[in-house]
């Protein structure tokens, strides 16, 4: 489901948008921790790649962990 949510969010998949997408398509709430842990596991399995963007002020000077859509579901190694 997380992979599908990454594909749905198209060009701007990151923690917040993936979580919002999942909650929009499921009838119950989704734990944020579950989303981040799943992204972590999928990346370790090589099913997606994430990259950190430049830090921005609206995020308190922190980077965004973006997941490019083209990497989702494709073995990266």
């Amino acid at each position: 489901m997380v992979l599908l949510a990454v594909l749905q969010t198209r060009d701007h998949a990151y923690g917040v948008s993936i979580h919002e997408e999942l909650e929009r398509h499921t009838v119950r709430g989704v734990a944020r921790g579950a989303v981040y842990m799943t992204l972590d596991r999928l990346e370790k399995k090589g099913l997606l790649t994430s990259m950190l963007s430049e830090p921005t002020a609206e995020r308190g000077g922190r980077a965004t962990r973006c997941v490019p859509q083209w990497t989702a579901g494709l073995p990266t190694r």
Binding site: Y14, R32, A34, Y36, M37, L52, E58, R59, R62, T64
Partner: protein, 146 residues
């Protein structure tokens, strides 16, 4: 989760906190409870992964897996969880109260010097009509001693 990814998760929460309406205190409370929720989730996953006994039938068996399963079931049945927690709270409260009384009345020594030397003195009066007994006060003891 390495530190850069943890930093990006905090960034996500910061972004959401700034988007939220409502008082600053409530938003800050939301931020910290959500961050703690994510942290507990990560720790739970790590425990589940570390404590899993790799049996041939199922790789997800184990103490950690059982714990996660139990938490998930409890979250799915809030009525049962609330009732169980109330019963636990009542049981613990009643137990604590009884132990406090027993400790104060039976176990703790009296707050006097050499409490084992304290005595009760009674006096009795035997008559044809019957007998009567009463506790002797300090004044009675002094009169008897004279």
């Amino acid at each position: 989760m390495d530190s850069r990814i943890a930093d990006s998760v905090i960034g996500d929460l910061e972004e959401l906190r700034r988007r939220r309406s409502g008082s600053a205190f409530r938003n800050r409370l939301w931020f910290w409870t959500t961050a703690l929720g994510i942290l507990f989730h990560a720790v739970g996953r790590r425990i589940a992964a570390g404590a899993a006994f790799r049996s041939p039938r199922s790789a997800s068996n184990g103490i950690g897996g059982d714990f996660c399963h139990a938490v998930r079931l409890l979250r799915q049945h809030p009525g049962f969880t609330t009732t169980a927690m109330l019963i636990f709270a009542l049981g613990i409260g009643a137990n604590t109260t009884v132990f406090s009384v027993v400790r104060a009345v039976l176990l703790r020594p009296l707050p006097y010097h050499e409490p084992e030397r304290l005595v009760f003195l009674w006096n009795g009066l035997e008559t044809r009509q019957g007998s009567s007994h009463g506790v002797m006060t300090g004044r009675h003891v002094a009169e008897v001693g004279r």
